[in-house]
Amino acid sequence: MANWVDIGVIAVLNGLAIGLLLFVVAVGLSLVFGMMDVLNLAHGAVFVAGAYVAWWVVGGSPTWTGWLAALGVALAVGALAGGGLLLMTGPLARRSHLEQALLTLGVALVVAELLSLAFGEDVRSVSPPPGLGGTVSVLGNAYPAYRLLLIALGAGLAVAAHVVVERTPLGALVRATVADRDMVAAVGIDARLVRAGVFVVGSMLATTAGVLGSPIYSPRPGLDSTILILALVVVVIGGLGSVRGALVAALLIGQIESTGRALLSDLASFLLFGSLAIVLALRPRGLFAGAIGGQH
């Protein structure tokens, strides 16, 4: 009996860590789609770029300065990636959503190949910062200390995103743009700068998540589509353009992913995508799409 409780505690903590990480990745994807109708299929590649930055800067001999430098470099890379994608999708603004998605798919292929050219085909493992490589006792269970830090940081970022989007004038503008872009323009607000900002900040969050997640999701070829698919599942379940939805869906997916793996390892992905299918059958636009948005 105690054994089951132990497995449960570890699985819930793992789920929390994965879920919060997924939220940080998915919130940018969700808001960019909500505000600009651009489905950024290169988002997974941006995440992996952050993870490779962590390996390149931190590597196998971690120091705190190395980690902070990696975060700094990753933020710069994220800003560049976001800006680049913004410039590339700009000329296609009058074309269909599909063509913009295809463009980002092409970018994702190119970025993934460039990364594997630069960093090779091997799995690159990243060590946690010094002092966090060991385990901490949680309710009598040994648990990796770094994952607890990840939970704390992820929760902090989630709260920050929630406060900015739900409680500030800027966030009100973001929500209004998601809900009805033309009306925002009609009342005389030029939201172009805010949209560009959301694109850039979303990419920066993705690279940050790449750095923070690198000790768990070691950078390797193919990780980009894994992360992209998980983030897309989060975004679809939560409802495109909803921060609250993305948070709830990310936590849900994190729990399904980790408890699923702990209990029925072979069936974990079926649970994951089964829940996606159920949500889509019951609420085709996601759980929280009605809360804000609903233009589709």
């Binding site: 489905l39 074309r95 959503h97 063509e99 092409g106 190119v110 050219l117 589709h296």
Partner: protein, 336 residues
């Protein structure tokens, strides 16, 4: 947003009723088929094998075009049906019979059955939602192929698939294999073309261009979209069966995201909605991946990604959308 958005990729003329084949198209088709059939006499064996692979991938791309170009459903998970066809053909060849049509029939049946099951969920959505859902469902299928090791061979794939036998002799000769693939390629293409040219195809185009109106007229779009999805899945399964016959190997890669993305790439490069355009696109994709790929250290997708980006910007209707007519203003057509 979905139907109208996807429809802008290509908009061939809307013709209710059956389409006719003009003498020009007929001549071009005859010449192409004769050239493909006589290729093994002129080409080195490895070049013939590359051509055979192009035919297989072209059939996959053409079947995807039935969804993307004609029905307006952009699928990013079409390799699932292709890979399932390959596994089914391989399994039947190993555990049942490898005599000629049996593995292919199993492949078609497997592709169609899976398309019924997954399409029933997927075609309820449209546009980018359809893209995401097909991607996610294909990922489930890939996971299944990796984890169901006793049947699929896990991440190593199913290797050493028994060679298909025609009339008692095993198809190991490169030229014979090429003709076998060519025959079934033509059958598959004929099925796709007949569907596209029939009133059924006209209804699909109607749904693509204006679904609410088709519903108002009395059609049930769900049924038509599901039927198109199943037909595309069946033909993709056929292509997968041919893949198993040719490379005698089925791997989770064949089901994966990259294969799906390359198939979609072939459709977009070739020009969606034309059936023949995606075949050209597929030939180009395979040429870049398999012929230039090795000299680029296996980074063919890098070139393909760049080609993809250029095509999305410069040729929204693909190769097939470039008008080769005498009227100069139409030389460069852009999506309206």
């Amino acid at each position: 947003m979905g139907a109208a958005g996807a429809g802008r990729l290509a908009r061939p003329p809307y013709r209710p009723g059956y389409a006719h084949v003009g003498w020009r198209a007929g001549t071009a088709t005859t010449v192409a088929v004769l050239a493909l059939a006589s290729a093994p006499f002129f080409l080195a064996p490895y070049a013939t094998t590359a051509l055979t692979r192009m035919l297989i991938f072209a059939l996959l791309a053409a079947s995807l075009d039935l969804l993307v170009g004609i029905t307006g459903l952009p699928s990013l998970g079409h390799a699932a049906y292709f890979g399932v066809g390959a596994y089914a053909a391989g399994w039947i060849a190993g555990h049942g019979t490898a005599a000629a049509p049996a593995p292919l029939l199993a492949a078609v049946a497997a592709g169609a059955l899976m398309a019924v099951a997954l399409g029933w969920v997927a075609v309820r959505s449209s546009g980018v939602f359809f893209l995401i859902i097909t991607l996610a469902l294909a990922e489930v299928v890939r996971q299944l192929a990796v984890s169901w090791e006793p049947v699929t061979g896990g991440s190593n794939g199913m290797y050493g698939i028994a060679a298909t036998r025609v009339g008692g002799t095993a198809l190991t000769n490169v030229a014979h294999l090429h003709w076998y693939v060519l025959f079934w390629f033509l059958v598959g293409l004929l099925v796709l073309w007949s569907l596209s040219a029939s009133p059924f195809g006209a209804t699909l185009r109607g749904i693509r261009d204006n679904e609410p109106r088709m519903r108002a007229v009395g059609y049930r779009p769900f049924r038509y979209k599901l039927a198109a999805f199943v037909a595309a899945g069946a033909v993709a399964g056929l292509a997968g069966g041919l893949l198993a016959a040719q490379q005698r190997l089925a791997t989770p890669e064949d089901l994966g995201f990259t294969t799906s993305a390359l198939a979609l790439l072939a459709v977009v490069i070739g020009g969606s909605g034309t059936i023949w355009g995606p075949c050209l696109g597929a030939a180009l994709v395979i040429l870049v991946r398999d012929s230039f790929g090795p000299s680029l250290d296996g980074h063919g997708p890098l070139v393909l990604g760049l080609v993809f980006i250029v095509v999305v910007y410069a040729m929204p209707r693909g190769v097939a959308g470039v008008r080769w007519s005498r009227r100069r203003p139409q030389l460069r057509t852009k999506a309206g």
